[in-house]
Every structure is written in structure tokens, then in C-alpha cells.
């Protein structure tokens, strides 16, 4: 008990820290300077809030689409990250009065032919998962006929793909992009998209801190302090009628207050709204998973045969391959394939990058499983096949593999389950798989229900396989003749 940190006892004590979640890297709102300390408009803002309330501010770095669940679960007290106030979000969380008027924008490569949104017809456009830009692009998809809306975890990976040429444009908040592109001549913000967003600080519903923080904002607006911050970060004062100057009401939810645990984590309305997205994601997960397994099995079998029966050099190469790819984390390899391969001219789509990585890595595991199965077959089987004049091919296909595969069905199935689970890593390269769709849905709805539902979908799909394997394993252990 004595080892517990003090602030656990003093949860409601006004002297405790205010824990602030922020998507660090979101210029000029919250980012790192050269010595690694956090700076930015909103960082200054919350520091001022801390000073006025005489409470310490502790900032932790959380990806944008993770802020909603973090606020609702109480992991953080307050979220900043140029978060737009939307009606949907207001149903699940609270916002202080806004302090900045924003719009969306289209950023492209300076030398590209794309000069406005209509030029994006049939092109891939990048957005941040679950952001206002994402919501806008999704709503206007039919009008502008984008080939695909690709969803990234923040500005940096989206910019990487814009520069590589995997996406034609990036739709995101205009202040961030104006700030980001000002010292990058190869990039240009070519269009302002009037979405009329306003930024605010996000809190859990009915958190009393809301009113304290809002009072500080009123004070900073009337004293002109907020306008000074605007000058500091944007080089000029804010427009007279903007929410940086005007004192406004705390935004109110149009819907009823939903606060209990089930309403937060298994919200029926959110579920009904988002499950079509999840089904779409599940379809991609299944496609990727099954294709990876099929190709991984073939590739693994081929590797195991080379490993067992080819000449010394090839054997050494394959052995090295197997050891290397069993040592590299799949996620690391996937990021290399997706972001580094383009620099040597290999440019995979997100699906193909994920497929390639899964096949290459799972093939190494499959190869070892096949090898152990083949090596378990008695020498007499090979000799009997030889004595009948069977070719090496038919010896394998007719005699050895049917027996070997039967022995290794449990480990093979386990590896297949791993591949299916590992498909979730593909969301890191903007593939709209089940996990990606769930994170997007939860950011748009500002409610973690889609994540919980996606966990159930994985469970319903994988649990029968797991149970089946354990049954087979038990049968094998009981020594039943194969």
C-alpha cells in the first residue's frame, strides 16, 4: 500500500496533476522541439490552464484516434490535438468552448498536376483515421469520385506516402498543413475546404474540470492572452469574430446523456451505425488472411524441400532465410516493405505489402513445421517408394507429404491462426482491415464500442479453430494410430 503513488489517494484533490493526452507531432499545436520537450499552441494553452488552476500538467503522447477511448476510460483528464467539436462526439464526450476556427485543406506535391479537389477524381486521397478530414472525405466521396480514401495514423506517415507518390493528395486541418509546408518547397496547400470546424479541449462527460478549464478560457479570451498565443504561433492576431476572441457557451449535446458502462463500451446505437464498416473490414481481414495462409503454405513447403534435399549452397541460403525471418518482428518487416522498399523502386499497395510480408515471414515458420513432419517419416517409407521406382516428385506427393502433413496439422493450424491475427498489423500501412475500420469508427463516433465489437468478431472467428486444434492435439497425445 505504501508503494502506491500519492495521486491515487487524492484523485479529486485539486492539487493533483491534470493528465493531458496529445497527439505529439501535430504541428503547430503540439510537437517536439530539438531537445525533445513538448511545445505548440495547445501546449502553451494547457500550461496556462495549469498555472491558473495551480495544478501540474502532465502531457502523454497518444495517437489521435486513441484520445477518445482514453478520455472516456479516465486514463487522461483532458485531450488536446486540434480536436473538432462534432455532434456525434458530443453524444459521448464533453468539450470546452472552442478557441480556434479551422477549415480543412488539400495538400499535394508542388510539381503534380493536381490543383484542386476535382483533379483527385480516380486518385487515392490520404486522411487521418477518424479525423474531420476523414469524415469530410467520406461524406463527399461521391461528389469528387476518389479512387480510395486511405487512412493514416497522423501527418508523418501520410506525408511519407504523399512524397513517395502512393497517394495523390492529403486532406487535413489547414493550420497544421500551412505550418508544416512553410519550409518544404516540394509541398503545396492548394485548396481550403470550408468545413467550419472549431477546435476545443475534450473531456469525459460530466467531469467537473470542464467548468474550471472553461473559466480559464473565458479569462484568457477577455484578457487577450489567447490572442497573444495566436500571434505567437501564427504570426498575426485572430479575426475579430473568431472563436479565439469571442466568449462562447459550452457546446451541448443534442442527445441524451449516456454514462453507464454498457452505454459507453457496448453502445447499441454506435454498434448499429458502425457495424457495416466493421463487416467491410472483416472481409478484407479474411481476404488477406486466407491468401497469406495459402501462399505461405506453398512457399513454406517449397522452402522445407529445398532445406532438406537441395545442394549445400541452396540449403545454407534457405537455412539463413528461415533463421532471419523468424527473428525479425513482422511489424518491423512490414514497415520496411511499405516505407523503405519504394526507395529502391518496389512500390506495393497496402494490401500487397501486407500480403508480401505475411507470406515471407509465415513461410519461414511453415517451412520449419513441414521439415519436422517430413523428418518424422520413417526411412522405410522412402525406401519402399524408391524400390517401386517412384520419382522423387511422386515419392513426396503420394507417400511422404500425405503422412507428414497429417502429423503436423496441429502446429500448422496454430501458425494459420497466428497469420490471421497478424493481419491486424496491416492497419499500420493504412489497409482498411477490421482493426483499422474499428479504430476509424471509434474516432468518428468518439466511442470505443467498435473496438470491443471487433474483438468479438476476431474471437468468434478464431475461437472455433483454437478449440479444434486442442481437440486434435489431445487425440494425438492419447496415442491414436495415424
Amino acid at each position: 500500500m505504501l508503494l502506491l503513488p500519492m495521486d491515487l489517494y487524492s484523485k479529486d484533490n485539486s492539487n493533483s496533476n491534470i493528465v493531458v493526452g496529445a497527439n505529439i507531432g501535430n504541428v503547430p499545436w503540439e510537437f517536439q522541439d530539438s531537445d525533445g520537450s513538448y511545445i505548440g499552441f495547445e501546449v502553451d494553452l494547457v500550461s496556462r490552464v495549469g498555472e491558473k488552476l495551480k495544478r501540474k500538467i502532465k502531457i502523454i503522447n497518444i495517437p489521435f484516434n486513441g484520445l477518445f477511448a482514453a478520455v472516456q476510460s479516465g486514463r487522461i483528464d483532458l485531450a488536446i490535438s486540434s480536436i473538432n467539436i462534432t455532434d456525434k462526439r458530443l453524444e459521448s464526450v464533453s468539450f470546452t468552448q472552442p478557441y480556434y476556427d479551422s477549415d480543412q485543406s488539400l495538400t499535394v506535391l508542388n510539381n503534380s498536376k493536381i490543383k484542386n479537389l476535382y483533379d483527385l477524381k480516380g486518385k487515392i486521397v490520404a486522411v487521418d483515421t477518424g479525423s474531420t478530414g476523414d469524415i469530410w472525405a467520406t461524406e463527399n466521396n461521391e461528389k469528387y469520385e476518389f479512387a480510395e480514401i486511405r487512412r493514416y495514423e497522423g501527418l508523418v506517415p501520410a506525408m511519407l506516402d504523399l512524397v513517395i507518390g502512393r497517394v495523390a493528395g492529403y486532406i487535413s486541418d489547414i493550420p497544421a498543413l500551412l505550418y508544416y509546408t512553410k519550409d518544404k518547397p516540394n509541398l503545396a496547400v492548394v485548396e481550403r475546404i470550408s468545413t467550419g470546424g472549431t477546435y476545443s479541449m475534450m473531456l469525459r462527460k460530466n467531469n467537473s474540470l470542464l467548468f474550471e478549464v472553461n473559466d480559464v478560457l473565458i479569462e484568457m479570451k477577455s484578457s487577450g492572452e489567447l490572442n497573444e498565443l495566436h500571434k505567437k504561433w501564427f504570426g498575426k492576431f485572430a479575426a475579430k469574430n473568431s472563436s479565439t476572441i469571442k466568449i462562447l457557451d459550452i457546446p451541448k449535446s443534442s442527445g441524451k446523456l449516456n454514462l453507464n458502462l454498457t452505454e459507453t463500451f457496448l453502445n447499441k446505437r454506435v454498434f448499429l451505425e458502425t457495424y457495416p464498416m466493421l463487416i467491410k473490414g472483416f472481409y478484407i481481414t479474411i481476404q488477406l488472411g486466407l491468401l497469406s495462409i495459402l501462399l505461405g503454405l506453398i512457399w513454406g513447403l517449397l522452402l522445407s524441400l529445398i532445406r532438406l534435399y537441395s545442394n549445400t549452397l541452396l540449403r545454407f541460403v534457405v537455412k539463413t532465410y528461415i533463421n532471419v525471418f523468424r527473428s525479425i518482428p513482422l511489424l518491423v518487416f512490414l514497415i520496411i516493405v511499405f516505407y523503405a522498399f519504394p526507395f529502391v523502386g518496389i512500390r506495393f499497395s497496402p494490401f500487397n505489402a501486407a500480403l508480401f510480408s505475411l507470406v515471407i515471414v509465415s513461410g519461414a515458420y511453415f517451412a520449419e513445421i513441414f521439415r519436422s513432419g517430413i523428418e518424422a517419416i520413417p526411412k522405410g517409407q522412402f525406401e519402399a517408394a524408391k524400390a517401386l521406382g517412384l520419382s522423387p516428385y511422386h515419392t513426396m506427393v503420394d507417400i511422404i507429404l500425405p503422412q507428414a502433413i497429417k502429423i503436423v496439422i496441429p502446429p500448422l493450424t496454430n501458425n494459420c491462426i497466428n497469420v490471421l491475427k497478424d493481419t491486424a498489423l496491416a492497419s499500420i500501412v493504412a489497409l482498411p482491415d477490421l482493426l483499422k475500420q474499428a479504430t476509424q469508427a471509434q474516432a468518428i463516433a468518439a466511442n470505443p464500442t467498435p473496438l470491443i465489437v471487433s474483438a468479438f468478431i476476431y474471437l468468434i472467428f478464431l475461437l472455433p479453430m483454437i478449440l479444434w486444434v486442442s481437440r486434435i492435439e489431445k487425440k494425438y497425445r492419447s496415442g491414436k494410430q495415424l
Binding site: 520413417p378 522405410g380 517409407q381 525406401e383 519402399a384 524408391k386 524400390a387 517401386l388 521406382g389 517412384l390 520419382s391 511422386h394 503420394d398 507417400i399 500425405p402 503422412q403 497429417k406 494410430q481 495415424l482
Partner: protein, 245 residues
């Protein structure tokens, strides 16, 4: 009567150990040859050289039906002519009895499914287990399994069948059913080379007996010559010890 199999100066080394030492031997078409001798004398190794399951040393040469037994394309043709029955049966456990017998003709002789099936049923009838055709090997007794293995060998319509201690893994009560099948084959004109520890069987079935010890042929001759009138002391000592048991 022509020579079917010819061995000239055949040796087999495992590292420094010499299992078979400079063997010269001719086997005539239609002949039943039994090879006897103590364990470890090189009998099995010798017959496994004939279908090249063992690679014999380079300076020797084996020919079957005029074709040299060496690595390469000819090996497939050799193995069509030379069938083998193993001590441990080596049936394919994932295939039923019928398919065990059909596989060789279909894959190596390119026989059609239907004629392979007919052949398999005929041969299973010949070895007395036609009614077991749809069972799997593990459902059969050891003696039955070895009879399937003999049918599988016969399905290749070979010129010669090599038997590598065909009854050594069997329970005593099953030995005779297998030996009876082999005896019947002896009357059909197929050449057979049989490594065996069954002395009375060897005497009964063989046209010629070879006694091997420590990798060499100590003595060869007709069954009567070897069993009743051996010229070599090592043969006499061996026979005395096994016949007494």
C-alpha cells in the same frame, strides 16, 4: 539359362567399416537364391546394393539384365525389374491395401487405374487376402501385411524379387503363412534372392545357397551341399548353432 544379375568386385564401406567385401556373384534367370549367415555378415547390405538402395563403392559393378546399376536415369528401369520385400513390410499407412498394391504399376509402369485395380485384386487373391482390400495396413496382422507387401512387389511384374529377411519381424505363428506364399512363387519361374534365417525353408525352396560372414561369401552351393556336406568350418559352426536351436 542366362545370367540375370551379375556382381563383380562389389564392396560397400560405411566410413572405415567395410560391410561387403569384393563380392563376385552371378544369379541365373529363374533361380531361387537364399543367402544365410550370422547377423551383421552383410547379407542385407548386399541385396540392397542390387536395386541401389545402398550405393556400393565405385570400383565394383552390378548389372541387371545387362543394364548397369548406377545413379541416373537407368535406375528407374532397374527398379521396374527388381522388386523388394522388406523386413518391416514398409506398407504405406495412409493408403488402403488395394491402393498400396496399385501405386507402383500406376506410377512406374503407367498402367491405367482400371487395369491396375484388376491386377491388384488378382494378386491379393493369390496371396489370400482379397477380402481385406479396402482395409488399412494397421488393421491387418503382421503376416497379412507382409503378404500385401509381396503382392505389391509382384504387381510390378518384376524379373527378380529381393526378400530382405521377410519373416524376421513376424510373430512365430505367422511365419509359415508368409513362407508358404514365397514357396508358391518359387514354382512360377520368377527369380528370387532371399535373405533368411529360416534354415529349413531355405533348404526346401532354394536352388542355390550362399553362406556369408564378415562381408564375404564363405561358401556357395546347392542346399544339399551346404547343409549336408559343407567344406568350410565357419559354415559348419554356424549351421550347428542355428539348427540346434
Amino acid at each position: 539359362m542366362s545370367v540375370l544379375i551379375n556382381l563383380k568386385n562389389v564392396s560397400k564401406h560405411y566410413g572405415d567399416f567395410c560391410a561387403v567385401k569384393r563380392i563376385d556373384l552371378s544369379i541365373i534367370e529363374g533361380e531361387v537364391l537364399c543367402i544365410i549367415g550370422p547377423s551383421g555378415s552383410g547379407k542385407s547390405t548386399l541385396i540392397r546394393c542390387i536395386n541401389y538402395l545402398e550405393e556400393y563403392d565405385d570400383k565394383g559393378i552390378i548389372t541387371v539384365n545387362g543394364i548397369t546399376v548406377k545413379k541416373g536415369n537407368n535406375l528407374k528401369n532397374i527398379r521396374k525389374e527388381v522388386a523388394m520385400v522388406f523386413q518391416n513390410f514398409n506398407l504405406f499407412p495412409h493408403l488402403n491395401i488395394l491402393k498400396n498394391v496399385m501405386l507402383g504399376p500406376i506410377r512406374s509402369l503407367k498402367v491405367s487405374q482400371s487395369s491396375a485395380k484388376k491386377l491388384a485384386y488378382d494378386l491379393l487373391g493369390k496371396v489370400g487376402i482379397r477380402d481385406q482390400a479396402n482395409k488399412f495396413p494397421y488393421q491387418l496382422s503382421g503376416g497379412q501385411q507382409q503378404r500385401v507387401a509381396i503382392a505389391r512387389a509382384l504387381a510390378m511384374k518384376p524379373k527378380v524379387i529381393l526378400f530382405d529377411e521377410p519373416t524376421s519381424s513376424l510373430d512365430p505363428e505367422m511365419v509359415s503363412e508368409v513362407l508358404d506364399v514365397i514357396k508358391e512363387l518359387a514354382g512360377t519361374g520368377v527369380t528370387m534372392v532371399i535373405v533368411t534365417h529360416e534354415m529349413s525353408f531355405a533348404r526346401q525352396v532354394a536352388d542355390k545357397i550362399i553362406f556369408m560372414d564378415e562381408g564375404i561369401i564363405v561358401e556357395e552351393g546347392s542346399p544339399d551341399q551346404i547343409f549336408d556336406d559343407s567344406k568350410k568350418e565357419r559354415t559348419q559352426i554356424f549351421l550347428k548353432s542355428v539348427l540346434k536351436a
